[in-house]
Protein backbone atom coordinates (compact mmCIF):
# COMPACT_ATOMS: atom_id res chain seq x y z
CA UNK A 1 0.00 0.00 0.00
CA UNK A 2 2.89 2.35 0.85
CA UNK A 3 4.30 1.80 -2.65
CA UNK A 4 0.98 2.84 -4.17
CA UNK A 5 0.87 5.98 -2.01
CA UNK A 6 4.23 6.96 -3.46
CA UNK A 7 2.93 6.24 -6.97
CA UNK A 8 0.15 8.78 -6.29
CA UNK A 9 2.81 11.18 -4.97
CA UNK A 10 4.94 10.62 -8.10
CA UNK A 11 2.01 11.40 -10.38
CA UNK A 12 1.14 14.54 -8.41
CA UNK A 13 4.74 15.69 -8.53
CA UNK A 14 4.94 15.13 -12.28
CA UNK A 15 1.70 17.04 -12.77
CA UNK A 16 2.82 19.90 -10.49
CA UNK A 17 6.00 20.33 -12.51
CA UNK A 18 3.76 21.16 -15.46
CA UNK A 19 1.53 23.58 -13.55
CA UNK A 20 2.68 27.20 -13.27
CA UNK A 21 0.61 27.86 -10.14
CA UNK A 22 2.00 24.78 -8.36
CA UNK A 23 5.57 25.73 -9.30
CA UNK A 24 4.95 29.24 -7.96
CA UNK A 25 3.66 27.80 -4.68
CA UNK A 26 6.70 25.53 -4.40
CA UNK A 27 9.24 28.25 -5.19
CA UNK A 28 7.83 31.31 -3.43
CA UNK A 29 8.85 30.35 0.16
CA UNK A 30 12.45 29.93 -0.97
CA UNK A 31 12.41 33.30 -2.75
CA UNK A 32 11.03 34.94 0.39
CA UNK A 33 13.72 33.20 2.44
CA UNK A 34 16.37 34.75 0.19
CA UNK A 35 14.71 38.17 0.64
CA UNK A 36 14.77 37.74 4.43
CA UNK A 37 18.39 36.61 4.33
CA UNK A 38 19.36 39.65 2.25
CA UNK A 39 17.43 42.35 4.07
CA UNK A 40 16.90 41.18 7.63
CA UNK A 41 20.55 41.72 8.70
CA UNK A 42 20.24 45.33 7.55
CA UNK A 43 17.12 45.75 9.61
CA UNK A 44 18.87 44.41 12.69
CA UNK A 45 22.19 46.06 12.14
CA UNK A 46 23.11 48.66 14.79
CA UNK A 47 26.76 48.92 13.71
CA UNK A 48 27.87 52.46 12.91
CA UNK A 49 29.93 52.95 9.75
CA UNK A 50 32.91 55.27 9.96
CA UNK A 51 35.08 56.52 7.08
CA UNK A 52 38.70 57.34 8.01
CA UNK A 53 41.94 58.35 6.31
CA UNK A 54 44.70 55.86 5.55
CA UNK A 55 47.21 58.42 6.80
CA UNK A 56 45.52 58.66 10.21
CA UNK A 57 47.14 57.37 13.38
CA UNK A 58 47.07 53.56 13.27
CA UNK A 59 46.10 53.39 16.96
CA UNK A 60 43.16 55.69 16.29
CA UNK A 61 41.90 53.49 13.46
CA UNK A 62 42.40 50.35 15.55
CA UNK A 63 40.45 51.86 18.49
CA UNK A 64 37.51 52.92 16.33
CA UNK A 65 37.44 49.51 14.60
CA UNK A 66 36.65 47.89 17.97
CA UNK A 67 33.31 49.69 18.15
CA UNK A 68 32.36 50.52 14.55
CA UNK A 69 32.74 49.30 11.00
CA UNK A 70 35.63 51.29 9.52
CA UNK A 71 36.34 51.99 5.87
CA UNK A 72 39.73 53.57 5.08
CA UNK A 73 40.36 56.01 2.20
CA UNK A 74 43.42 57.63 0.64
CA UNK A 75 42.32 61.25 0.78
CA UNK A 76 39.67 63.60 2.13
CA UNK A 77 37.82 63.78 -1.22
CA UNK A 78 37.28 60.01 -1.15
CA UNK A 79 36.04 60.18 2.45
CA UNK A 80 33.61 62.94 1.51
CA UNK A 81 32.40 61.01 -1.53
CA UNK A 82 31.79 57.95 0.66
CA UNK A 83 29.92 59.95 3.30
CA UNK A 84 27.71 61.44 0.60
CA UNK A 85 26.49 58.03 -0.51
CA UNK A 86 22.93 56.99 0.38
CA UNK A 87 23.66 54.85 3.45
CA UNK A 88 24.49 56.17 6.92
CA UNK A 89 28.20 56.85 7.30
CA UNK A 90 30.14 59.35 9.38
CA UNK A 91 33.66 60.48 8.50
CA UNK A 92 36.37 61.13 11.12
CA UNK A 93 39.48 62.86 9.79
CA UNK A 94 42.45 64.54 11.53
CA UNK A 95 42.34 68.35 11.66
CA UNK A 96 45.24 70.11 13.36
CA UNK A 97 45.64 68.70 16.86
CA UNK A 98 42.11 67.34 16.89
CA UNK A 99 39.60 65.63 14.61
CA UNK A 100 36.79 66.66 12.31
CA UNK A 101 33.48 64.73 12.06
CA UNK A 102 32.00 64.80 8.54
CA UNK A 103 28.28 64.08 8.08
CA UNK A 104 25.95 64.10 5.11
CA UNK A 105 23.35 65.85 7.21
CA UNK A 106 20.46 63.46 7.01
CA UNK A 107 21.84 60.74 9.31
CA UNK A 108 20.01 59.56 12.38
CA UNK A 109 20.94 61.57 15.45
CA UNK A 110 22.28 58.38 16.96
CA UNK A 111 24.97 58.12 14.24
CA UNK A 112 26.20 61.63 14.86
CA UNK A 113 26.23 61.13 18.65
CA UNK A 114 27.94 57.75 18.35
CA UNK A 115 30.74 59.14 16.15
CA UNK A 116 31.30 62.09 18.50
CA UNK A 117 31.25 59.96 21.68
CA UNK A 118 33.48 57.29 20.18
CA UNK A 119 36.11 59.83 19.17
CA UNK A 120 35.93 61.48 22.64
CA UNK A 121 36.44 58.08 24.33
CA UNK A 122 39.52 57.63 22.15
CA UNK A 123 40.81 61.03 23.25
CA UNK A 124 40.33 59.91 26.86
CA UNK A 125 41.76 56.43 26.08
CA UNK A 126 38.74 54.73 27.69
CA UNK A 127 38.33 50.95 27.30
CA UNK A 128 35.49 48.49 27.97
CA UNK A 129 37.44 46.94 30.85
CA UNK A 130 37.36 50.24 32.75
CA UNK A 131 33.60 50.27 33.15
CA UNK A 132 32.18 49.97 36.68
CA UNK A 133 29.01 48.24 35.39
CA UNK A 134 28.56 44.45 35.74
CA UNK A 135 27.91 42.67 32.39
CA UNK A 136 25.00 40.17 32.31
CA UNK A 137 24.13 38.37 29.03
CA UNK A 138 21.06 36.21 28.36
CA UNK A 139 23.04 34.45 25.68
CA UNK A 140 20.66 35.26 22.83
CA UNK A 141 22.75 35.19 19.70
CA UNK A 142 19.94 35.04 17.18
CA UNK A 143 18.78 38.25 15.46
CA UNK A 144 15.19 38.60 16.75
CA UNK A 145 13.65 40.21 13.67
CA UNK A 146 15.13 37.63 11.33
CA UNK A 147 13.83 34.84 13.57
CA UNK A 148 10.32 36.34 13.60
CA UNK A 149 10.27 36.75 9.81
CA UNK A 150 11.53 33.21 9.29
CA UNK A 151 8.90 31.88 11.68
CA UNK A 152 6.17 33.76 9.77
CA UNK A 153 7.52 32.29 6.55
CA UNK A 154 7.24 28.80 8.05
CA UNK A 155 3.59 29.49 8.93
CA UNK A 156 2.92 30.66 5.38
CA UNK A 157 4.63 27.58 3.94
CA UNK A 158 2.35 25.36 6.02
CA UNK A 159 -0.64 27.15 4.47
CA UNK A 160 0.82 26.63 0.99
CA UNK A 161 0.97 22.87 1.57
CA UNK A 162 -2.84 22.94 1.82
CA UNK A 163 -3.02 24.96 -1.37
CA UNK A 164 -1.02 22.33 -3.26
CA UNK A 165 -3.46 19.61 -2.10
CA UNK A 166 -6.46 21.73 -3.12
CA UNK A 167 -5.01 22.31 -6.59
CA UNK A 168 -4.28 18.62 -7.02
CA UNK A 169 -7.84 17.63 -6.02
CA UNK A 170 -9.33 20.21 -8.40
CA UNK A 171 -7.20 18.74 -11.19
CA UNK A 172 -8.58 15.26 -10.38
CA UNK A 173 -12.11 16.66 -10.45
CA UNK A 174 -11.65 18.54 -13.73
CA UNK A 175 -10.17 15.47 -15.40
CA UNK A 176 -12.81 13.22 -13.76
CA UNK A 177 -10.05 10.83 -12.71
CA UNK A 178 -11.13 10.15 -9.13
CA UNK A 179 -13.56 7.44 -10.32
CA UNK A 180 -10.81 5.86 -12.39
CA UNK A 181 -8.54 5.64 -9.33
CA UNK A 182 -11.46 4.34 -7.26
CA UNK A 183 -11.63 1.23 -9.49
CA UNK A 184 -8.01 0.29 -8.80
CA UNK A 185 -6.76 -1.71 -5.79
CA UNK A 186 -5.60 1.37 -3.85
CA UNK A 187 -7.83 2.09 -0.84
CA UNK A 188 -9.41 5.49 -0.37
CA UNK A 189 -7.32 6.16 2.73
CA UNK A 190 -4.23 5.19 0.74
CA UNK A 191 -5.27 7.67 -1.93
CA UNK A 192 -5.81 10.43 0.68
CA UNK A 193 -2.41 9.82 2.28
CA UNK A 194 -0.76 9.58 -1.15
CA UNK A 195 -2.34 12.89 -2.12
CA UNK A 196 -1.06 14.46 1.11
CA UNK A 197 2.53 13.51 0.39
CA UNK A 198 3.18 16.18 -2.23
CA UNK A 199 1.92 19.07 -0.08
CA UNK A 200 3.64 17.86 3.08
CA UNK A 201 6.98 16.96 1.50
CA UNK A 202 7.20 20.15 -0.57
CA UNK A 203 6.33 22.21 2.50
CA UNK A 204 8.87 20.33 4.61
CA UNK A 205 11.60 20.87 2.03
CA UNK A 206 10.59 24.55 1.79
CA UNK A 207 10.72 24.95 5.58
CA UNK A 208 14.14 23.32 5.85
CA UNK A 209 15.35 25.28 2.82
CA UNK A 210 14.02 28.56 4.22
CA UNK A 211 15.68 27.99 7.60
CA UNK A 212 18.93 27.07 5.88
CA UNK A 213 18.82 30.08 3.54
CA UNK A 214 18.11 32.46 6.40
CA UNK A 215 21.17 31.11 8.20
CA UNK A 216 19.73 29.30 11.22
CA UNK A 217 22.11 26.37 10.77
CA UNK A 218 22.37 25.57 14.48
CA UNK A 219 18.69 24.95 15.20
CA UNK A 220 17.54 21.51 16.32
CA UNK A 221 16.52 20.06 12.95
CA UNK A 222 14.68 17.10 14.47
CA UNK A 223 12.44 19.51 16.38
CA UNK A 224 11.84 21.49 13.18
CA UNK A 225 10.78 18.35 11.30
CA UNK A 226 8.54 17.09 14.13
CA UNK A 227 6.62 20.35 14.62
CA UNK A 228 6.61 21.01 10.84
CA UNK A 229 4.89 17.73 9.93
CA UNK A 230 2.42 17.92 12.80
CA UNK A 231 1.39 21.51 12.11
CA UNK A 232 0.67 20.59 8.49
CA UNK A 233 -2.21 18.23 9.33
CA UNK A 234 -4.80 20.99 9.61
CA UNK A 235 -3.62 22.70 6.46
CA UNK A 236 -3.88 19.40 4.57
CA UNK A 237 -7.44 18.82 5.80
CA UNK A 238 -8.42 22.33 4.69
CA UNK A 239 -6.70 21.68 1.36
CA UNK A 240 -8.78 18.54 0.77
CA UNK A 241 -12.02 20.29 1.74
CA UNK A 242 -11.29 23.27 -0.49
CA UNK A 243 -10.32 21.02 -3.37
CA UNK A 244 -13.53 19.04 -3.06
CA UNK A 245 -15.68 22.18 -2.86
CA UNK A 246 -13.93 24.21 -5.59
CA UNK A 247 -14.50 24.15 -9.32
CA UNK A 248 -11.21 25.68 -10.47
CA UNK A 249 -7.66 26.29 -9.28
CA UNK A 250 -8.13 29.96 -8.41
CA UNK A 251 -11.21 29.26 -6.29
CA UNK A 252 -9.33 26.52 -4.45
CA UNK A 253 -6.27 28.70 -3.86
CA UNK A 254 -8.44 31.60 -2.69
CA UNK A 255 -10.30 29.31 -0.28
CA UNK A 256 -7.11 28.02 1.29
CA UNK A 257 -5.90 31.60 1.67
CA UNK A 258 -8.66 31.99 4.25
CA UNK A 259 -6.32 30.00 6.47
CA UNK A 260 -4.25 33.18 6.63
CA UNK A 261 -6.79 34.58 9.10
CA UNK A 262 -6.24 32.06 11.93
CA UNK A 263 -2.51 31.92 11.10
CA UNK A 264 -2.09 35.70 11.20
CA UNK A 265 -4.34 35.89 14.27
CA UNK A 266 -2.25 33.29 16.07
CA UNK A 267 1.01 35.09 15.24
CA UNK A 268 -0.41 38.46 16.30
CA UNK A 269 -1.78 36.92 19.50
CA UNK A 270 1.54 35.34 20.39
CA UNK A 271 3.55 38.48 19.64
CA UNK A 272 1.23 41.21 20.89
CA UNK A 273 -0.91 39.83 23.71
CA UNK A 274 0.35 40.12 27.26
CA UNK A 275 1.00 36.92 29.17
CA UNK A 276 -2.32 37.06 30.98
CA UNK A 277 -4.22 37.03 27.66
CA UNK A 278 -2.16 34.40 25.85
CA UNK A 279 -4.70 31.74 26.86
CA UNK A 280 -7.18 33.24 24.39
CA UNK A 281 -5.06 31.76 21.57
CA UNK A 282 -4.67 28.27 23.03
CA UNK A 283 -7.39 26.90 20.73
CA UNK A 284 -5.28 27.51 17.62
CA UNK A 285 -2.82 24.84 16.47
CA UNK A 286 -1.01 27.60 14.55
CA UNK A 287 -0.35 29.41 17.85
CA UNK A 288 1.40 26.35 19.28
CA UNK A 289 3.28 25.74 16.05
CA UNK A 290 4.45 29.37 15.94
CA UNK A 291 5.45 29.25 19.60
CA UNK A 292 7.40 26.02 19.09
CA UNK A 293 9.18 27.39 16.04
CA UNK A 294 9.94 30.64 17.90
CA UNK A 295 11.70 28.68 20.63
CA UNK A 296 13.50 26.44 18.14
CA UNK A 297 14.77 29.38 16.06
CA UNK A 298 15.89 31.21 19.21
CA UNK A 299 17.72 27.99 20.14
CA UNK A 300 16.10 27.99 23.57
CA UNK A 301 13.70 25.10 22.95
CA UNK A 302 13.67 21.99 25.10
CA UNK A 303 12.00 18.69 24.21
CA UNK A 304 9.28 18.77 26.90
CA UNK A 305 8.07 22.17 25.65
CA UNK A 306 8.26 21.13 21.99
CA UNK A 307 6.46 17.85 22.66
CA UNK A 308 3.74 19.72 24.57
CA UNK A 309 3.28 22.16 21.65
CA UNK A 310 3.35 19.30 19.13
CA UNK A 311 0.81 17.32 21.16
CA UNK A 312 -1.58 20.26 21.28
CA UNK A 313 -1.14 20.87 17.52
CA UNK A 314 -1.85 17.20 16.76
CA UNK A 315 -4.81 17.09 19.13
CA UNK A 316 -6.59 20.13 17.68
CA UNK A 317 -5.76 19.09 14.09
CA UNK A 318 -6.92 15.53 14.72
CA UNK A 319 -10.29 16.79 15.99
CA UNK A 320 -10.78 18.76 12.77
CA UNK A 321 -9.57 15.79 10.69
CA UNK A 322 -11.97 13.34 12.36
CA UNK A 323 -14.87 15.78 12.01
CA UNK A 324 -14.29 16.33 8.30
CA UNK A 325 -13.04 12.88 7.22
CA UNK A 326 -16.54 11.64 6.21
CA UNK A 327 -16.96 14.73 4.03
CA UNK A 328 -13.56 14.21 2.42
CA UNK A 329 -14.35 10.54 1.80
CA UNK A 330 -17.72 11.42 0.25
CA UNK A 331 -16.13 14.08 -1.95
CA UNK A 332 -13.59 11.60 -3.24
CA UNK A 333 -16.20 8.91 -4.02
Amino acid sequence: MIKKMFIIFGRDFLSSRRDALAIYIIVVPLILAVVIALFAPGLNDTTVNIAMLESDNALHIEYIEQYAKVEVFKNIEEVERRVNKRDEMAGIIPLGDGYEIILQGNEAELIEMYAVMLNSFYDLRLTKEETTATMISFGRTVPPLKAKLTNMLISMTIMLSGMLIAISIVEEKNDDTINAVNVTPISQMGFIIGKSLLGSSVAMISIIGAIFITGFYNVNWVMIVVIGFCSMILSLVIGFLQGINSEDFMEAAAGVKMLMLPIAGSIAGYELLSDKWQWTMYWSPFYWAYKANDLILAQTADWPTILLCTGLVVLSSAIVFILFLPRIRKGLS
Binding site: I7, R11, E171, N179, T184, P185
Partner: protein, 284 residues
Protein backbone atom coordinates in the same frame (compact mmCIF):
# COMPACT_ATOMS: atom_id res chain seq x y z
CA UNK B 1 -19.12 -14.13 -12.90
CA UNK B 2 -21.88 -11.75 -11.71
CA UNK B 3 -24.84 -12.72 -9.56
CA UNK B 4 -27.43 -10.10 -8.59
CA UNK B 5 -30.37 -11.00 -6.37
CA UNK B 6 -33.12 -8.59 -5.33
CA UNK B 7 -30.96 -5.50 -5.75
CA UNK B 8 -32.53 -2.18 -4.79
CA UNK B 9 -30.95 1.24 -4.43
CA UNK B 10 -32.21 4.64 -3.37
CA UNK B 11 -30.42 7.99 -3.42
CA UNK B 12 -30.80 9.94 -0.20
CA UNK B 13 -32.10 13.04 -1.95
CA UNK B 14 -34.73 11.11 -3.88
CA UNK B 15 -37.58 9.07 -2.49
CA UNK B 16 -37.93 7.06 -5.70
CA UNK B 17 -36.00 3.79 -5.99
CA UNK B 18 -33.32 4.16 -8.64
CA UNK B 19 -33.08 0.35 -8.78
CA UNK B 20 -36.09 -1.69 -7.75
CA UNK B 21 -35.61 -5.36 -6.86
CA UNK B 22 -33.67 -6.51 -9.90
CA UNK B 23 -32.07 -9.95 -10.30
CA UNK B 24 -29.88 -11.43 -13.02
CA UNK B 25 -26.84 -13.60 -13.54
CA UNK B 26 -23.97 -13.33 -16.00
CA UNK B 27 -21.84 -16.36 -16.78
CA UNK B 28 -18.11 -16.34 -17.44
CA UNK B 29 -17.20 -15.27 -20.97
CA UNK B 30 -20.63 -13.79 -21.66
CA UNK B 31 -21.18 -10.32 -23.14
CA UNK B 32 -24.21 -8.94 -21.38
CA UNK B 33 -25.93 -5.78 -22.58
CA UNK B 34 -27.71 -3.58 -20.08
CA UNK B 35 -29.97 -1.42 -22.17
CA UNK B 36 -32.21 1.45 -21.29
CA UNK B 37 -32.81 5.17 -21.70
CA UNK B 38 -31.13 7.84 -19.58
CA UNK B 39 -32.21 7.64 -15.93
CA UNK B 40 -33.36 4.04 -16.23
CA UNK B 41 -30.89 2.79 -13.62
CA UNK B 42 -28.07 1.51 -15.84
CA UNK B 43 -25.30 3.63 -14.29
CA UNK B 44 -26.57 2.99 -10.76
CA UNK B 45 -26.43 -0.76 -11.37
CA UNK B 46 -22.94 -0.48 -12.87
CA UNK B 47 -21.88 1.75 -9.95
CA UNK B 48 -22.97 -0.93 -7.46
CA UNK B 49 -21.35 -3.75 -9.43
CA UNK B 50 -18.04 -1.87 -9.67
CA UNK B 51 -18.18 -0.87 -6.01
CA UNK B 52 -18.35 2.86 -6.68
CA UNK B 53 -21.78 2.91 -5.05
CA UNK B 54 -22.40 1.23 -1.73
CA UNK B 55 -24.64 -1.81 -1.82
CA UNK B 56 -27.79 -0.97 0.15
CA UNK B 57 -30.10 -3.93 -0.37
CA UNK B 58 -29.73 -7.27 -2.12
CA UNK B 59 -27.06 -9.89 -2.66
CA UNK B 60 -24.40 -9.12 -5.23
CA UNK B 61 -21.40 -11.29 -6.11
CA UNK B 62 -18.90 -9.91 -8.61
CA UNK B 63 -15.90 -11.91 -9.83
CA UNK B 64 -16.15 -14.10 -6.75
CA UNK B 65 -16.30 -11.18 -4.31
CA UNK B 66 -19.27 -10.42 -2.06
CA UNK B 67 -20.07 -6.74 -2.62
CA UNK B 68 -21.24 -6.42 0.98
CA UNK B 69 -17.61 -6.69 2.00
CA UNK B 70 -15.09 -4.07 0.97
CA UNK B 71 -12.04 -5.63 -0.68
CA UNK B 72 -10.13 -3.48 -3.12
CA UNK B 73 -8.20 -6.48 -4.41
CA UNK B 74 -11.23 -7.34 -6.53
CA UNK B 75 -10.25 -4.47 -8.83
CA UNK B 76 -7.28 -6.55 -9.98
CA UNK B 77 -9.82 -8.68 -11.87
CA UNK B 78 -12.02 -5.80 -13.07
CA UNK B 79 -11.66 -3.21 -15.81
CA UNK B 80 -13.97 -0.22 -16.08
CA UNK B 81 -14.35 2.09 -19.06
CA UNK B 82 -16.50 5.05 -18.11
CA UNK B 83 -18.75 6.99 -20.45
CA UNK B 84 -16.98 10.22 -19.48
CA UNK B 85 -13.32 10.04 -20.37
CA UNK B 86 -11.09 10.24 -17.31
CA UNK B 87 -7.45 10.83 -18.12
CA UNK B 88 -4.92 13.24 -16.62
CA UNK B 89 -4.66 16.23 -18.96
CA UNK B 90 -1.14 17.16 -17.88
CA UNK B 91 0.20 13.66 -18.42
CA UNK B 92 1.00 12.11 -21.78
CA UNK B 93 -1.00 9.13 -23.07
CA UNK B 94 1.85 6.80 -22.08
CA UNK B 95 2.30 8.38 -18.64
CA UNK B 96 -1.44 8.00 -18.00
CA UNK B 97 -1.38 4.28 -18.69
CA UNK B 98 1.92 3.77 -16.85
CA UNK B 99 0.46 5.46 -13.76
CA UNK B 100 -2.62 3.22 -13.69
CA UNK B 101 -0.61 0.08 -14.44
CA UNK B 102 1.46 0.67 -11.28
CA UNK B 103 -1.65 0.71 -9.09
CA UNK B 104 -2.50 -2.94 -9.85
CA UNK B 105 -1.04 -6.01 -8.13
CA UNK B 106 -1.30 -8.21 -11.22
CA UNK B 107 0.76 -8.32 -14.44
CA UNK B 108 -0.30 -5.46 -16.67
CA UNK B 109 -0.25 -4.83 -20.41
CA UNK B 110 2.33 -2.74 -22.19
CA UNK B 111 1.01 0.87 -22.39
CA UNK B 112 2.44 1.37 -25.87
CA UNK B 113 0.74 -1.78 -27.14
CA UNK B 114 -2.61 -0.58 -25.80
CA UNK B 115 -2.12 2.89 -27.27
CA UNK B 116 -1.47 1.29 -30.66
CA UNK B 117 -4.47 -1.03 -30.23
CA UNK B 118 -6.91 1.88 -29.89
CA UNK B 119 -5.44 3.74 -32.84
CA UNK B 120 -3.43 6.37 -30.94
CA UNK B 121 -0.08 5.27 -32.33
CA UNK B 122 2.31 8.22 -32.58
CA UNK B 123 0.48 10.07 -29.77
CA UNK B 124 2.21 8.23 -26.90
CA UNK B 125 4.16 11.26 -25.79
CA UNK B 126 1.46 13.86 -26.40
CA UNK B 127 -0.31 15.26 -23.37
CA UNK B 128 -3.86 13.98 -23.00
CA UNK B 129 -5.02 17.58 -22.53
CA UNK B 130 -4.34 18.18 -26.22
CA UNK B 131 -6.48 15.21 -27.30
CA UNK B 132 -9.92 15.45 -28.92
CA UNK B 133 -12.91 14.04 -27.04
CA UNK B 134 -12.79 10.87 -29.12
CA UNK B 135 -9.07 10.36 -28.48
CA UNK B 136 -9.55 10.82 -24.72
CA UNK B 137 -12.37 8.27 -24.89
CA UNK B 138 -10.10 5.79 -26.62
CA UNK B 139 -7.38 6.33 -24.00
CA UNK B 140 -9.99 5.73 -21.27
CA UNK B 141 -11.01 2.55 -23.09
CA UNK B 142 -7.35 1.46 -23.31
CA UNK B 143 -6.88 2.16 -19.61
CA UNK B 144 -9.73 -0.22 -18.75
CA UNK B 145 -7.70 -3.09 -20.30
CA UNK B 146 -4.40 -2.31 -18.57
CA UNK B 147 -4.80 -5.05 -15.91
CA UNK B 148 -6.01 -7.82 -18.28
CA UNK B 149 -9.46 -7.83 -16.64
CA UNK B 150 -11.52 -11.00 -16.33
CA UNK B 151 -14.61 -8.86 -15.98
CA UNK B 152 -14.96 -5.75 -18.08
CA UNK B 153 -17.48 -2.97 -17.51
CA UNK B 154 -18.04 -0.82 -20.58
CA UNK B 155 -20.23 2.26 -20.39
CA UNK B 156 -21.18 3.53 -23.86
CA UNK B 157 -17.88 2.38 -25.38
CA UNK B 158 -18.50 3.77 -28.87
CA UNK B 159 -20.30 7.02 -28.05
CA UNK B 160 -18.80 10.01 -29.85
CA UNK B 161 -16.47 7.92 -32.00
CA UNK B 162 -16.39 8.03 -35.76
CA UNK B 163 -17.55 4.81 -37.50
CA UNK B 164 -14.04 3.57 -38.29
CA UNK B 165 -12.82 3.93 -34.71
CA UNK B 166 -16.12 2.53 -33.40
CA UNK B 167 -15.54 -0.54 -35.58
CA UNK B 168 -12.03 -0.89 -34.11
CA UNK B 169 -13.45 -0.73 -30.59
CA UNK B 170 -16.08 -3.36 -31.48
CA UNK B 171 -13.35 -5.62 -32.83
CA UNK B 172 -11.37 -5.24 -29.61
CA UNK B 173 -14.45 -6.15 -27.56
CA UNK B 174 -14.96 -9.26 -29.73
CA UNK B 175 -11.28 -10.21 -29.35
CA UNK B 176 -11.56 -9.92 -25.58
CA UNK B 177 -14.70 -12.06 -25.70
CA UNK B 178 -12.77 -14.70 -27.66
CA UNK B 179 -10.22 -14.69 -24.82
CA UNK B 180 -12.99 -15.49 -22.33
CA UNK B 181 -13.45 -12.01 -20.86
CA UNK B 182 -16.87 -11.38 -19.37
CA UNK B 183 -18.31 -8.02 -20.44
CA UNK B 184 -21.04 -5.94 -18.85
CA UNK B 185 -22.00 -3.46 -21.55
CA UNK B 186 -24.13 -0.47 -20.61
CA UNK B 187 -25.55 1.40 -23.56
CA UNK B 188 -28.56 2.97 -25.15
CA UNK B 189 -27.20 2.11 -28.61
CA UNK B 190 -29.22 -0.95 -29.65
CA UNK B 191 -27.14 -1.58 -32.77
CA UNK B 192 -23.98 -1.99 -30.71
CA UNK B 193 -25.82 -4.26 -28.28
CA UNK B 194 -27.22 -6.31 -31.14
CA UNK B 195 -23.77 -6.79 -32.67
CA UNK B 196 -21.86 -7.55 -29.48
CA UNK B 197 -24.12 -9.05 -26.84
CA UNK B 198 -24.95 -12.67 -26.11
CA UNK B 199 -27.86 -11.53 -23.98
CA UNK B 200 -29.47 -8.19 -23.26
CA UNK B 201 -31.55 -6.85 -20.39
CA UNK B 202 -34.04 -4.03 -20.89
CA UNK B 203 -34.15 -1.76 -17.86
CA UNK B 204 -36.58 1.09 -17.35
CA UNK B 205 -37.49 3.04 -14.20
CA UNK B 206 -35.28 0.76 -12.14
CA UNK B 207 -37.04 -2.44 -13.27
CA UNK B 208 -35.71 -5.10 -15.62
CA UNK B 209 -38.46 -5.72 -18.17
CA UNK B 210 -36.87 -8.72 -19.87
CA UNK B 211 -33.60 -10.61 -20.38
CA UNK B 212 -32.98 -12.67 -23.50
CA UNK B 213 -30.70 -13.13 -26.50
CA UNK B 214 -31.09 -10.58 -29.33
CA UNK B 215 -31.95 -13.45 -31.69
CA UNK B 216 -34.75 -14.77 -29.49
CA UNK B 217 -36.14 -11.27 -29.06
CA UNK B 218 -36.21 -10.72 -32.80
CA UNK B 219 -37.87 -14.09 -33.31
CA UNK B 220 -40.43 -13.33 -30.66
CA UNK B 221 -41.20 -9.74 -31.53
CA UNK B 222 -40.24 -9.53 -35.25
CA UNK B 223 -42.97 -9.33 -37.87
CA UNK B 224 -41.54 -12.13 -40.07
CA UNK B 225 -42.30 -10.32 -43.33
CA UNK B 226 -40.29 -9.98 -46.53
CA UNK B 227 -40.43 -7.01 -48.92
CA UNK B 228 -39.68 -7.99 -52.52
CA UNK B 229 -39.18 -5.63 -55.46
CA UNK B 230 -39.12 -7.35 -58.87
CA UNK B 231 -39.33 -6.44 -62.58
CA UNK B 232 -42.49 -7.56 -64.39
CA UNK B 233 -42.15 -6.53 -68.05
CA UNK B 234 -41.29 -2.85 -67.99
CA UNK B 235 -42.78 -2.33 -64.58
CA UNK B 236 -41.14 -2.57 -61.11
CA UNK B 237 -43.52 -4.16 -58.65
CA UNK B 238 -43.35 -4.54 -54.87
CA UNK B 239 -44.98 -7.12 -52.61
CA UNK B 240 -44.85 -7.81 -48.86
CA UNK B 241 -45.16 -11.51 -47.98
CA UNK B 242 -45.58 -13.31 -44.66
CA UNK B 243 -42.90 -15.92 -43.96
CA UNK B 244 -45.24 -18.02 -41.85
CA UNK B 245 -48.06 -18.17 -44.43
CA UNK B 246 -47.87 -21.16 -46.91
CA UNK B 247 -49.66 -19.21 -49.61
CA UNK B 248 -47.19 -16.33 -49.34
CA UNK B 249 -44.23 -18.76 -49.32
CA UNK B 250 -45.43 -20.24 -52.63
CA UNK B 251 -45.84 -16.75 -54.03
CA UNK B 252 -42.26 -15.86 -53.01
CA UNK B 253 -40.86 -18.93 -54.83
CA UNK B 254 -42.94 -18.03 -57.87
CA UNK B 255 -41.53 -14.48 -57.95
CA UNK B 256 -37.96 -15.69 -57.45
CA UNK B 257 -38.29 -18.25 -60.25
CA UNK B 258 -40.11 -16.12 -62.82
CA UNK B 259 -38.98 -12.52 -62.36
CA UNK B 260 -35.84 -10.49 -61.96
CA UNK B 261 -35.47 -9.54 -58.29
CA UNK B 262 -34.34 -5.97 -57.64
CA UNK B 263 -34.40 -5.93 -53.83
CA UNK B 264 -35.47 -8.31 -51.07
CA UNK B 265 -35.51 -7.34 -47.37
CA UNK B 266 -36.66 -9.29 -44.35
CA UNK B 267 -38.76 -7.10 -42.05
CA UNK B 268 -36.88 -8.25 -38.96
CA UNK B 269 -37.58 -6.05 -35.93
CA UNK B 270 -34.64 -4.06 -34.52
CA UNK B 271 -33.80 -4.21 -30.82
CA UNK B 272 -34.89 -0.62 -30.58
CA UNK B 273 -38.32 -1.43 -31.98
CA UNK B 274 -38.57 -4.36 -29.59
CA UNK B 275 -37.54 -2.16 -26.68
CA UNK B 276 -40.28 0.33 -27.53
CA UNK B 277 -42.76 -2.50 -27.97
CA UNK B 278 -41.86 -4.05 -24.61
CA UNK B 279 -41.43 -0.94 -22.48
CA UNK B 280 -43.65 1.53 -24.28
CA UNK B 281 -40.76 4.02 -24.11
CA UNK B 282 -38.03 5.23 -26.47
CA UNK B 283 -34.33 4.99 -25.72
CA UNK B 284 -33.32 8.63 -25.54
Amino acid sequence: MISVKNLSHIYSNNDKLAINDISFEITKGETFGFLGPSGAGKSTTQGILTGLLKLQKGDVQVAGYDMNKVDNKRFNKIGVSFEQSNVYSKLTAKENLEFYSKLFDVPTRDPEELIKLVGLEGKENDRAGSFSKGMKHRLTFARSMINNPELWFLDEPTTGLDPTIAATIKNIINEQKAKGVTTFLTTHNMYIADELCDRVAFIIDGHIKLIDTPKNLKMQYGKKLVDIEYVDGNEVKKETLKLIDDKDKKRMYEIINNYTIQTMHSKEATLEEIFIQVTGRGLI
